[in-house]
């Protein structure tokens, strides 16, 4: 029987031994060296039955299939666009995957031009890290107006909250449009005063993501900032 060398939810450094024996299985952020499981990154240990993985606490966005991200158009090809996805790799959006049908000889800048921000879906990441994006599907569009801020990509789940509860709370309190991309880019559009409250709130969430009772603290923070009472809809 194998032996665990660390407790669940401790922070480990690269090279730290997590478990001994063949009973445990290495998942994301870990690897097996003979009969030991070793961490390959800095992060929180997550033990789920026999599976051990580390959840990174910092670092760049690693593209994953199915992520909805906010990307910036950086170049135009013969048959598509190159997107900056704020990662080590860039993505390609092919003409076929654009929102509308595009004729063969059309001017691609009419659809998405260099510097435009778009909401897009990661449809494929190859082993060579070639990332394919797609605009097919609901909610994928070009972003008009507003502004973009960057947050730590690993804090995105806390900004969104359970079933989007956190982000919808901020939306209701401030009346701003908010879109959170998995790659850590956030698009905000609203009136100047409210946008500033949104930015403050998001920065607060980013800083305090690891401390418990986040939703209540953010609720009181928003109430103080907007001078309005907020009712949280309970999410099961």
């Amino acid at each position: 029987m194998g032996k665990l060398l660390v407790e669940d939810k401790t922070i480990v450094t690269p090279g730290e031994e997590l478990a001994e024996g063949m009973d445990f299985l290495p998942a994301e952020g870990t690897f097996r060296d003979k009969d030991k499981i070793i961490s390959s990154g800095l992060g929180l240990v997550n033990i789920n039955g026999r599976v051990i993985k580390t959840i990174p606490v910092a670092g760049r966005y690693a593209p994953k299939k199915g992520d909805v991200i906010i990307a910036k158009v950086t170049n135009i090809l013969m048959s598509g666009w190159i997107l900056d996805i704020d990662s080590a790799y860039s993505a390609v959006l092919s003409v076929k995957e654009a929102k509308d049908f595009i004729r063969r000889d059309a001017d691609l800048t009419k659809y998405y031009n260099i510097g435009d921000y778009i909401v897009t879906d990661v449809v494929m990441v190859t082993s060579q890290r070639l990332v394919d994006a797609s605009m097919k599907g609901p909610g994928m569009r070009k972003l008009i107006g507003g502004r973009i801020i960057k947050v730590n990509t690993h804090k995105v789940p806390r900004i969104i909250g359970k079933k989007g509860s956190m982000v919808s709370m901020i939306k209701n309190a401030t009346g701003c449009n908010i879109l959170v991309g998995q790659n850590g880019l956030v698009w905000i559009n609203g009136s100047p005063e409210n946008e500033i409250i949104v930015v403050k709130t998001i920065k607060k969430i980013e800083q305090e993501a690891h401390i418990g009772g986040l939703t209540d603290r953010i609720k009181t923070f928003l109430e103080k900032e907007t001078n309005k009472k907020i009712n949280i809809e309970k999410v099961e």
Binding site: G115, G145, R147, P192, I196, V199
Partner: protein
Amino acid sequence: MDKEQTNHILNFLEKGIRFDGRKLDEYRQIKVEKGFSENAEGSARVTIGDTIVFAGVKLSVGEPYPDTPNEGTMMINAELMPLSNPDFEPGPPAIQAIELARVVDRGIRESGTIDTKKLCIKKEEKVWSILIDICTVNDDGNLFDASALAVLAALQDTKMPSYNGKIVDYKKKTKDTLPLNLKKIPTSCTVSKIGNHFIVDPVHEEEEKVEARLTVEVEEDGTLCALQKGGDKPLTAEDIDNMVGIGIEKSKELRKFL
């Protein structure tokens, strides 16, 4: 999109606030730390918001220029480190780095804050030469003001090394400071124009939308000692009047950090 982002900024400025909630003529939090480096004769680290700039002063003994045989020399060099902004490339200094160094240099030279005559050791043969390095660690806008502040703080921090007539012993620092005229120390305030609005201390995203900027360097009594205009769009005489006014007003605030 670029146009839309500019419009978005203009909507903000119309209401008198900035992207981070500041007023138009409000600086971010400024912090000046003097003497963080052991090996330099004088050094300073300046942080304005997320912008971080280091400045270091080295002193050596060299020959004076033939046209000023009894005056010490000064040289400023700026390096925009690639780690501070993805747009900066390694290699020989780019045009922005040269401009940055020259603007800071001009402020100090023209204000006459360094009494270069006192840096003379032997006429026509030996003078102290001051070498100042600016190094950007993080660029979140307003490198001009941060660099100028860092250089002046580093100059104030400078202690002369001991010199026996032949060699300079950098390990032994004397208590002597540089011959600075404190009244003439220049402060640099860069005023930027977006639309019809004048702002100070732009962050990186605002800096991309700046149409024109004017760096105003002022001595303690309000005497202008240097100006530098940048950006693509022209400025009217009225604009310059306004910008210089803001620069002089803000310089009082910046002076407190020196």
